[in-house]
């Protein structure tokens, strides 16, 4: 470690602490661990805390979940809700034990309702924070070599988060989640060949059966959280192993990490943030009601409520199912192929998620990436990546909005059918539009950066020359400020060797290279390159008088034209 640390004069350590430390060191070599980890450096940036929101939400989910398991009965045995228990709207009704215990714990266990609400808010926050964290990693290019595998681990965690959420909100056996399960059953049945058997396998026979709640309970409290815990361990280990990425800045390189030590600064900041996350979720649980299952009532297959929607992270599937026109169900040779369900329920999420999971490898293929990247990209400096991310997000948002189309209809006084048609069109149009617009915005921002480096800040001070000419005085950037804008290297499309060598022999692997080249062109053909020292010198040579004309050669502004 090259960092200098001001160690104060050796203080006297109390004998009990010394004895305890000695015990740990002689048994497990604690001093080596402390030496390795205590002063590990983490860079400071607010967006690096998004993943911590997810991590801490998960811890809170486990804590509140333990409370809930003490009072929840995962059983579908039919019981009658007690006549003397609250709420009055449930008294004497027939319902499953799962539903009855959920309602009873909300009204008759002090803190029960609070813990349920904290648990549910934390679940929404968990998936939300994972999504936002993933967006941060995506848009800053943190997934690049050597972190591709950790991206996959994180991606798997997101999928497991969805599984945890879906299995969890189905547990109370209320009307809303019951209809969610019924939709899941419908999608499952649509799968060719094995659909019906898949449905039987999930529900232990015909829907709804009496097995699904106990099964989901095991999935929700053992299987999925176990996997999540294991993968979080891998995720965090790899973060420590790779050391955290950092934003470009003076003194920051791909060979170092600049920041504050784990102990004490990060212990206090990250530890403090855990309490803040817990505090915010607890206040939300105390003041904002969520999933009041007694409003929905105990599940009965003949009941559905208006506004039948899943939690937000499943809404894109619901939206896809709503948008797909029904004409696409076909009977071929006596067998039914329900493309109206398979496309939105399986194909579209499949494509979206595969694209997301494989993006680091797609980009790596295009750049033929060989080195390690630890300094992050500013999103504008990777226009095609940023635009691709925004395009994927826009599809996601269209589907989420489509999943809420009935609420949009009632709240904005629109026709449900018109909204559905609008979203059907937007599903195809919006990603293209957002891709183009985002890419243009990124390129413009890069041009602005160039402008700033070459000519400095506008000062608002206008001077008049003897010749009568007016100019505004620009203040040049200092080298620290400039460095942020020029630190990224130019990225250009790959050049590939000719197809045939001088002897006219076809080169093996040429087709692959051609594919690589066209992908690379897609990524880097349109570009604005950072200012080079030569350009800056030229600009200054113009005597900070009249802007250097950065003649755009097609879309390319840069060194080769000089």
């Amino acid at each position: 470690m090259s960092a200098r640390t001001e160690v104060p004069q050796q203080r006297k350590t109390s004998p009990t602490v010394a004895a305890g430390a000695d015990f740990l060191d002689t048994r497990v070599g604690a001093s080596k661990m402390v030496k390795e980890f205590a002063r590990k450096i983490f860079p400071d940036h607010w967006s690096f805390l998004l993943g911590e929101i997810a991590l801490f939400s998960f811890v809170i989910l486990i804590l509140s979940g333990i409370f809930l398991t003490m009072f929840f009965v995962p059983s579908m045995t039919e019981v009658h809700y007690p006549e003397d228990a609250l709420p009055v709207t449930m008294q004497g009704l027939e319902m499953s034990e799962a539903f009855a215990s959920t309602v009873y714990m909300s009204y008759h266990v002090p803190g029960g309702l609070l813990m349920r609400q904290i648990h549910h808010w934390a679940a929404l926050m968990f998936v939300g924070a994972m999504t936002v964290h993933m967006m941060r990693v995506f848009f800053t290019g943190a997934f690049r070599r050597p972190r591709e595998l950790n991206w996959l681990v994180g991606f798997t965690l997101l999928i497991l988060g969805l599984a945890a959420g879906f299995s969890g909100y189905s547990l109370p056996d209320d009307v809303l989640s019951g209809n969610g399960l019924r939709i899941a059953d419908g999608v499952l049945r649509a799968i060719p060949l094995i659909g019906s058997y898949g449905s039987y396998m999930l529900f232990g026979g015909e829907f709804p059966g009496t097995d699904i709640i106990p099964r989901l309970f095991t999935v929700h409290i053992l299987l999925v959280p176990g996997l999540i815990l294991a993968l979080i361990a891998v995720h965090l280990f790899l973060i420590v192993w790779h050391k955290h990425t950092q934003f470009p800045g003076p003194g920051r390189t791909d060979r170092n990490v600049v920041g504050y030590p784990l102990f004490p600064v990060y212990t206090a900041k990250a530890g403090g943030f855990f309490f803040i996350v817990f505090g915010v979720l607890a206040v939300m649980g105390a003041t904002m009601s969520i999933n009041n299952v007694w409003n929905y009532g105990p599940y009965d297959p003949s009941i559905v409520g208006a506004g039948a929607q899943p939690d937000w992270y499943m809404l894109f599937l619901e939206g896809a199912l709503r948008l797909m026109p029904g004409q696409t169900e076909y009977v071929i040779g006596g067998f039914t192929l329900s493309l109206n369900i398979l496309v939105p329920g399986v194909v579209i999420p499949g494509i979206l998620f595969t694209l997301l999971a494989l993006f680091p490898f797609i980009e790596g293929f295009a750049t033929k990436d060989t080195g390690e990247h630890h300094v992050l990209d500013r999103p504008r400096n990777a226009p095609v990546r940023t635009a691709s991310g925004v395009a994927i997000l826009s599809v996601f948002f269209v589907l989420v909005a489509a999943g809420s189309n009935d609420l949009i209809a009632t709240h904005f006084h629109l026709s449900l059918n018109a909204i559905t048609w609008a979203f059907r069109v937007l599903f195809f149009v919006l990603p293209v539009v957002t891709f183009i617009v985002t890419k243009r915005i990124c390129l413009s921002l890069q041009r602005k950066d160039r402008e700033l480096v070459l000519h400095g800040h506008e000062t608002g001070r206008v001077v008049r020359f003897a010749s009568g000419e007016y100019i505004e005085v620009h203040r040049p950037l200092d080298e620290h400020e400039r460095w942020v804008l020029v630190a990224h290297g130019p990225r250009r499309p790959l050049e590939i060797p000719a197809e045939e060598d001088s002897a006219g022999v076809r080169r093996p692997g040429h087709r692959r290279d051609r594919l690589r080249q066209s992908l690379s062109r897609f990524f880097y053909e349109d570009r604005v390159e950072p200012v080079t020292p030569a350009e800056l010198a030229a600009a200054h040579a113009h005597d900070e008088h009249d802007a250097v004309d950065a003649r755009p050669a097609r879309e390319t502004i840069g060194t080769q034209s000089h």
Binding site: M1, S2, Y107, P110, G111, L113, N179, I183, G186, R189, I191, Y197, S199, Y200, G204, G205, F207, H242, P250, G251, V258, G259, Y260, P264, V265, A268, K269, G272, F274, F275, I276, F278, G279, L281, A282, G285, P301, S302, I303, L321, R322, Q327, T328, E329, F335, T336, N340, I341, K368, E372, D406, N417, H480, R482, A487, R491, R492, T532, P533, A534
Partner: protein
């Protein structure tokens, strides 16, 4: 490309600038002014105190608002006070710790070197050697049969776990149950009467006036086995319209009674109950995915993601005027599946 590994501490070239190195440390108020540092310390203590008080308040609230007796107001107060106690208790600690770190702890940035993930060539060679030595020690390369046996045994061993598990998950695996509903008849062979859901009262044809809709299930179903499974397939909506606007094909003429028609309430898309009946347009809408069916035209789809019409239940009226099902649906109700048409 060669721009990877551009060692940024290298001097400037025509292509790239020189990394200027870490900027100067800007001191905070408390770094120079002991009074400012003392003030920060007091703020941190105050935040911890907020946490302590909030926790105490939450515990007091726990005892002040017992929820044992039926009083919804106490549930509300208990949730609020406990939650705020917990929340502020946590927020106080968190804010105090962060404020401490930000204002009082050493804020000089430190630099740590990174090491390349890739092992150096000597390490790589040594690793390969070690693996080769190990492989040679095991003799696996020289004994291919052993390799095959190991692989086969490992591949087969999980079967004795997986087969019983998968084999039992689907109970009897008799998926032909999708085709039958409780409308086929009562357990003792009699006809199934239509009854109101959930009150289970039989319905007379005269009870259903024009413009009304009734949610129906098979009479006395709640007393039978597999009630919910059967109900999930058998729920029906009964609607009366002007007989002159019903478009009925010849073979279904006898399925309705004086403008009263009964259709399955289970959506042919993914199975939600289709129940939003608009009596002026005679359309029923599914609230889950908005498939819309026209009741006057054999419940055909007019909008949305469903393909097939809702199956129609043939109904008739007995001597006392009660409605009953002539027979079961002539096709499986609910969502499509692969072997549905078989």
């Amino acid at each position: 490309m060669s721009e990877e590994h551009n060692e940024l501490t290298e001097p400037a070239t025509a292509e790239s600038f020189e990394n200027p190195g870490l900027g100067h440390h800007r001191p905070r108020l408390g770094d120079d002014d002991p009074r400012a540092a003392k003030r920060s310390e007091r703020q941190v203590v105050a935040l911890f105190t907020v946490s302590i008080l909030a926790t105490i308040g939450g515990i007091v609230g726990y005892f002040a608002f017992p929820v044992a007796e039926p009083d919804a107001g106490n549930v509300r107060m208990s949730t609020l006070v406990l939650g705020l106690g917990l929340g502020l208790g946590m927020l106080g600690i968190g804010a105090a710790a962060v404020h401490w770190a930000k204002s009082l702890m050493n804020d000089h940035e430190k630099v740590e070197e990174r090491h390349e993930q890739r092992g150096d060539d000597a390490t790589r060679e040594r690793a390969v050697e070690m693996l080769q030595e190990g492989a040679a020690d095991s003799g696996i390369a020289r004994r291919p049969v052993l390799k095959g046996a190991l692989g086969t045994a490992l591949a087969l061993a999980p079967l004795s776990f997986v087969v019983p598990l998968v084999g039992n998950l689907g109970a009897d695996w008799n998926v032909s149950k999708f085709r039958h509903t409780a409308w086929a008849g009562t357990p003792d062979g009699g006809p199934r009467y239509l009854a109101t859901d959930p009150t289970d009262r039989r319905i007379k044809a005269s009870d259903i006036t024009r413009g009304s809709m009734v949610h129906v299930m098979p009479y006395r179903l709640p007393e039978e086995e597999h009630y919910l499974e059967e109900k999930a397939k058998a729920v029906v909506i009964v609607i009366r319209v002007d007989p002159s606007i019903l478009k009925e094909p010849e073979e279904r003429r006898g399925w309705s009674y004086d403008g009263i028609v009964a259709y399955s309430k289970v959506c042919t898309h993914v199975g939600c109950p289709v129940a939003l009946y608009e009596q002026q347009t005679h359309h029923v809408l599914c609230p889950c995915h908005q498939s819309t069916f026209d009741i006057t035209d054999q419940a055909k789809v007019v909008f949305g993601p469903a393909k097939r019409p809702l199956p129609q239940l043939p109904i008739a009226v007995d001597d006392e005027g009660y409605l009953y099902a002539q027979q079961d649906f002539d096709e499986p109700v609910g969502p499509s599946y692969w072997e549905r048409e078989r």
